[in-house]
Symmetry: C2
Amino acid sequence: MPNPLVLHLRRRDELSPDEEEAIERLTQRRQTFSENQELVAEGTAPKQSCLLLKGFAYRQHITREGRRSISQVHVPGDFVDLHSLLLDKIDHSVVSASKVEVSWVAHSDLRRLTETHPHLTRLLWMATTVDAAITRRAISVVGRYAPQARLAHLACELYVRLSTVGEASDLRFRFPATQVDLADMFGLSTVHLNRSLQDLRSTGVVTWDAGEIVIRDWDRLVDIGQFDVTHLSLKKARR
Amino acid sequence: MPNPLVLHLRRRDELSPDEEEAIERLTQRRQTFSENQELVAEGTAPKQSCLLLKGFAYRQHITREGRRSISQVHVPGDFVDLHSLLLDKIDHSVVSASKVEVSWVAHSDLRRLTETHPHLTRLLWMATTVDAAITRRAISVVGRYAPQARLAHLACELYVRLSTVGEASDLRFRFPATQVDLADMFGLSTVHLNRSLQDLRSTGVVTWDAGEIVIRDWDRLVDIGQFDVTHLSLKKARR
DNA sequence: CGCTTTATTGACCCGAATCAAGTAGAGTGG
DNA sequence: CCACTCTACTTGATTCGGGTCAATAAAGCG
């Protein structure tokens, strides 16, 4: 199985053999974590960025009152803190949501890459802007969608993102989020989330249980979640 | 007054004379818009990006039910759709919130820049990641902060961002958002927003009226809004 | 000066939070 | 193999924040 970052990029542009090789070289340093480990700590200024190869992770922030807000769900192929290459300090933490495998990429290597590989640089830049587009959409979802719709939107988006890196097919995939996690993604209480999830289940469009999501009716799920793939920029184009 | 993009970048790194000149060359094509004009249209694939030079703009998305969600407030120096250089289609629109002056920068020129100016490329990349960091923080704010706190957070953030491009000082600035706009930023009804704003005013920490915000007690405002500048990456550093 | 947009206020009601209790598995250890 | 515990999930009751509807005041603006 190729590097999921390669899949992520290849889905959106051609990669030259040299570029693929460059990615392979960058992503040598691997590490495995169990669930619930902090991969990236808020407030730090890492000298490396974390590429998620396997498993799920959350980008999250804890408010003063101790309320958690999950601003992004990461899937394999996501360069979860590539932006730490350019920012002062990381404004959120990233926590594993399952057993994960990651690759650490030194900022010095990335910076060198930007000097020698302009096209690949643009693709990495693109990866951060796709990430940002997902986050932007999440604002509308959290701010303006009904709870059921938020869940439906998430299921659609995860399915598409996982498919592009070969981690989902046949309208089903594993997704280990607990209901507490889901509540923290959508700014809801767990009680209310539970009821909303039951509402969604009762429509029959999706089975969502025991860490597995099975989509029974893609079109209706898309409709309920007002999902539009546009923001994932999945067209293969010269960038 | 220098180009606000130059100010935005200079606040975070050194710019060489050559780089400043490159920016000047890129941003020749100016245009003025009145309030409420669509600068960037959702679903299109522009061949140029829009740099905001003067005035305010909103990044927004309208849901199927016609509910508007504003995901970002733009201030001078913001390259409001720089990411359209790398994405397929724009997943949101950008609308002027006041009389604005913008500069159109051709994607072909930007792409050429990425081939010849790696450092400046990194800085533009940084600009998009700072934008993303603001959006990420907005998710926590909308999802988990009390309405008063959302307003306080916005006031703090705008003040800092405007200051860095020389558009605010002495703890006061113009901000032409209507209460309908504010409600659409925070996912609230206008009625509730109005009451929350009155609550905030009644604390005496801020005057917020007739398109002008005056901060009376910065420390308390920061406290109420749980504001932390970190995510704006304002350290001057070699990037 | 009327007309439209924006801000404000009150009444009412519903969606969602909180509190509280109970159930179901999954693991752990005796 | 069963009691014990821990975590995740579910359900009911109650409360309250915030939405909706509606009317009015104030402020631009053509």
